[in-house]
Amino acid sequence: MHSTNYHAAITAAEAASLLSSAEDGALLAGGQTLLPTMKARLAAPSDLVDISRAEELRGISITDGAATIGAMTTHAEVAGHAALRSAFPALCDLAGRIGDPAVRHRGTIGGSLANNDPAACYPAAVLGTGAIISTNTRDIAADDYFQGLFATALDAGEVITSITFPIPRAANYQKFAQPASRFALVGVFVAQFAEGVRVAVTGASEEGVFRWTDAETSLSSDFTADAIGGLSVRSQGMISDLHGDGSYRANLVQVLTARAVAAAS
């Protein structure tokens, strides 16, 4: 790992200020992606601003049909939160399948979203529910937030503070793990709301997480696995790698969506 300057920030404002004065600073959340990247010498920020212990960025609150999760809340905390589980079990299940137990003790929702790995799980839930990403400066709708592989609407120095999920009537996340990394080879998040169904797919597309709108339309009128039986997913634009080509991923999108609908609760 290249040398860097470490700073601990206990508020988002402090983090933003430290970032603005750094030459080439980076926020350090749980570090479960950034640190391996730095160890591989693929990233070399001049300064690391550690916000993992910013208490104001942690915690889960549930009000008025929405769940708000502080950006520095760990995957383990989300997975194990009793009230959230009774309100929105699909989100807890998703968090409980990210990485492994030790990674879930450190990794955070804010870190995952800021990184926007194309095979990460959380982007599927955020886009699949139309959640709001709040930062130190503004609120960003999920549909505006994800902008391709590792690309987001965040400005330089902008700090995610929390994510607010509208709680769906029923939802489910199906993850098919890449055999080596155990990231999502394909992950599908299906959420049913009064106003319709949203389907978000991670791991599959060369453009990163995306909404499968054809399926949303069909499922909005008939929320059954059969409703998407006639749809087809184009393999064009799907990721092709050692672990599966585009047609395999396209198949998984279809299979996992059907399974998510069948399992949604």
Partner: protein, 156 residues
């Protein structure tokens, strides 16, 4: 450089550390507690698992500076004299061969038993296999590791 203070295996330790020093480097190189191992670069193998404030973490994927103020337990500190039930169970069930992944396995094993007990859940064999997702062993085929953790879960 950052000045850090933490408790490792019940003892206060500290000093100035480089800002890019990993917790595992602090444990192995500064404290010379070499039971915690490094087996990969990508946070997958789990040979480096220690407990930070009571929770299993991969010490190769945490900065030493970020552990300032924390309570850290390594494989050298799990037992109060004698062997921890998890350590004994690995011996009883031949849960180790070359021993390199073993400290991480034991630390993860203790963590999972603690969590399941706290949540009142049953740690059955399928659950153990799932919970071991972040620990790779190349020698045992996991068969006897699963048996070891299962035995310790009954004794802890």
């Amino acid at each position: 450089m950052s000045e850090i203070k933490m408790t490792v295996n019940g003892k206060p330790v500290g000093g100035d550390v480089a800002d890019n020093m990993l917790l595992v480097e602090f444990i192995r190189e500064t404290l010379r507690l070499t039971g915690t191992h490094v087996g990969c670069d990508t946070s997958q193998c789990g040979a480096c698992v220690v407990h930070v404030d009571g929770k299993a973490v991969k010490s190769c994927t945490m900065l030493a500076a970020a552990a300032d103020g924390a309570e850290v337990t390594t494989i050298e500190g799990v037992a109060n004299g004698g062997l921890h039930p998890m350590q004994k169970a690995f011996n009883d069930n031949h849960g180790l061969q070359c021993g390199f992944c073993t400290p991480g396995m034991i630390m993860s094993g203790i963590d999972m038993v603690n969590r399941y007990k706290a949540e009142g859940k049953t740690l059955d064999e399928a659950a153990i296999r799932h919970e071991l997702e972040g620990n790779i062993c190349r020698c045992t085929g996991y068969h006897n590791i699963v048996k070891s953790i299962s035995q310790a879960a009954g004794e802890m």
